[in-house]
Amino acid sequence: MSMSAVLVIGGGLAGCVTALELASRGIGTVIVEKDRRLGGKVRDYGCKAASRCNQCGLCIVGDLWARVSEHSDIEVLTESRLVDLIGTKGNYKAVVRDKNGSRVIDGISDIVVSIGFDGASSATSAQVQYSGGRGVISGLKLEQLLAQRGRHGIFDEAPSRIAFLQCFGSRDIQEKAPYCSRVCCGYSTRAARVIRHHYPETEITFFYMDLQEVEGGTYFDVLKKENIEFIPCRPVSIVKGSPNRVLYEQPGSGGRLVEREFDLIVLSEGIHPAADSDRIAEICTLGYDRNGFLKTISDSGKTGIYLAGCVSGPKKIPEVYAESLQVAQQIWGGVR
């Protein structure tokens, strides 16, 4: 590329929003995306409206991916990875590799690292399996089901008992994730409300620790009024099968173990640092915060390296959107 451009590493929500905002100011962008298509995780998410909108934030996305793909000032390199980065602010060179080999991209003024996150269930040994309305699935899989839902339902065969296991891979020192993932209470309770809307008879049970703030005032009571059961504990173990079995200590019973059967178990998985974090941190000279997410070591304004999105920690969709616009504005403000 002959003109000065911005390199965006990761073409998910953060990367695309930043790129589009920069491109709309006439600043050329190159997006390096490891998958075959743009969109990251968000692309598969489903709408959480029951009879009315439940403010999950997905609408902000709209036709973002198409607009990015079609924009003349954005070059999208799919199935590509960043291999090396040399230079300083205003004058970077990047080495990018795809299935055909490596190439050098010159004349990069700034870099946006937006590699996103990995879901907790991919890091653990819990295998995800699903068939009809049965099985053990991750939050992401439930999102996909919601996205494909028709007018009359979500599942091919309605499960009669569903369990949500909250804080899966979050608030857990053993899982090396001693933090709250911020988004799971929101997406899982909203998903539960959609399920309740379509299936009034299905039992829905949440195994939880706390309910983070999703909406104001009396959200917890609203959920309970919709006949969603809340059990404050983390299960001891899950035994997959038909039906699945959840073993847990009955709260308030002094440690008595109880087993319950569920047709479908949803692991409300948290947000873990992306698998690529180590590699990208080394290439781009980034550090880690105490939860393992990336952070900048020096001021982005000086280095020209910016972080956007969940690469730096759990964020909700509107927060990622707002942050990405800000990053674009900082870069654009600097260029001008």
Binding site: C47, C53, G62, G150, P178, Q212, P314, P318, Q326
Partner: protein, 463 residues
């Protein structure tokens, strides 16, 4: 560029500092009772006050929320006040923090409680924190929770609670352990998390600024397209008017607001907007009232006795066009037009909102391959553009009309989908009144992420 800060709030000072450091000029209008209204558009606002007009390019409303004691009959200190200093000054040995009573406290209260619990515990005060939820979804809060516990602050989760008072002491009875145990705690140092509500002040301010608030007083709460500090008026921001002070979240909101102002300052001219035909305009003020973005105002030009569109405030949603009784407004980029349909394909006409239904339709195309020829799509910028006349006009040529717009509470323009529904109901009623089948007009609400719902609706409409 002058930025007006309207309202009284502890964040005014830090906000002023940030604005100055960014080369912007803050102008303070603290007493909202002095304000009669805010007219104009992004880049060119006039804040009408009793003492004259204050001009500003952008407006940030910061009026703080009302903090009230949810249990005034019990002696206590407010959590977000200087309760820590009070306790320490008294040389108290014990303090009890109470959250989520009687309603869930917002997450910000957990943050404040954790900080204060840690501080008191570090200073050798026995701290007991009673809450229904420990909300640690902010980045470092989980660590703060551990720190407080490390200093021996005790956190107890309760499901129900009642209190008795004896002189200055309070006895709290809490059901814990899933209701299997009741504990009683006596304290004369009770700190209660206040109830945060949008007081009359905020509602008054919102009405004078013509910004829309949700039930909790947040400017952006119930609309997924409007987020962080944005409001329904371009160039007017509502900065964290539901928090009692400066927190991490507030700082982020200030950052975002300043970035947003800079982006707006640099944004190009608005392309799609409304235009008023001065000859037809009856100055009935309907467009002024129905516009959710405050983008219509009387034309100050004495030669034109008409309303005028404020281009920089306008989103081109078309609500004014469909509601104008004099047909005096049009859009520069209109989707919906009332004309005898020219030779177009198919037997089903779909009027679909481009924010939701149109995108869902595009995603559903693979499923709709076979029937694609039988369907004719007219995308509109918002359900607000849709008119009864347009629907009826389409029925002249098509066997059926499907109106597809956004879900309740999901309209980018707050009410466009509701307006579309009214127009559909009216059209159906008119059909009924001439003994025709109102089922020829169908209506669906969905989001862009519901392609199968769209596909099923279209296939069913085709019969």
């Amino acid at each position: 560029m002058r930025i007006a800060i309207i309202g009284k709030s502890p964040i005014n000072e830090p906000l002023k500092e940030r604005l100055l450091s960014e080369g912007l000029t803050p102008v303070l209008v603290e007493n909202i009772n002095d304000i009669l209204g805010v007219v104009g558009q992004k880049g060119d606002f006039a804040i009408r006050t009793r003492y004259g007009d204050v001009e500003a390019g952008y407006v940030i409303a910061t009026q703080g929320p009302e903090l009230s004691n949810p249990v005034p009959e019990v002696p206590s200190l407010p959590l977000s006040g200087s309760s820590v200093q009070n306790i320490l000054d008294k040389n108290a040995k014990q303090a009890v923090l109470l959250l989520d009573y009687p309603d869930e406290s917002p997450g910000i209260m957990t943050e404040i409680a954790l900080k204060k619990a840690a501080e008191l515990a570090r200073k050798r005060v026995n701290v007991v924190c009673l809450a229904r939820f420990i909300r640690t979804s902010g980045g470092y809060l989980e660590q703060l929770y551990r720190e407080a516990r490390h200093f021996n602050a005790v956190f107890i989760k309760y499901s129900e609670l009642s209190m008795d008072c004896f002189e200055n002491a309070v006895v709290i009875h809490a059901r814990i352990n899933e209701g299997n145990e009741t504990i009683s705690i006596k304290t004369d140092n009770l700190i209660i998390a206040e109830k945060i509500s949008a007081g009359e002040d905020i509602r008054e301010m919102a009405s004078r600024l013509r910004i829309h608030l949700d039930d909790e007083g947040k400017a952006s709460g119930d609309n997924p397209f409007v987020f962080s500090a944005m409001t329904n008026r371009k160039g007017v921001f509502a900065l964290h008017n539901t928090s009692p002070g400066l927190t991490n979240e507030t700082k982020e909101m200030i950052d975002y607001t300043i970035a947003a102002i800079k982006m707006e300052m640099a944004a190009g001219k608005n392309s799609g907007h409304a235009v008023v035909d001065a000859d037809k305009c009856a100055l009935c003020y309907t467009c002024y009232r129905v516009c959710t973005h405050a983008a219509m105002a009387p034309d100050p030009n004495p030669d034109r006795s008409a309303m005028m569109n404020l281009e920089e405030a306008c989103y081109g949603c078309g609500i004014c066009v469909s509601q104008c009784p004099a047909a005096a407004v049009r859009l520069t980029e209109a989707g919906m037009e009332v004309k005898p349909e020219m030779a177009m394909k198919g037997s089903l006409k779909i009027f679909c909102c481009e924010n939701s239904a149109k995108l869902a339709f595009e995603r559903a195309k693979p499923e709709l391959e076979e029937i694609y020829d039988k369907v004719d799509i007219t995308p509109v910028s918002c359900g607000g553009e849709i008119t009864t006349a347009g629907i009826l006009s389409a029925l002249h040529r098509y066997r059926k009309v499907l109106v597809a717009v956004c879900m309740d509470d999901a309209c980018k323009h707050l009410e466009g989908n509701k307006r579309a529904k009214r127009q559909v109901l009216k059209a159906q009623q008119l059909l009924k009144s001439i003994a025709m089948d109102p089922g020829r007009i169908e209506y669906v609400q969905l989001s862009h992420a519901m392609p199968r719902v769209m596909a099923e609706t279209v296939i069913e409409a085709l019969g």
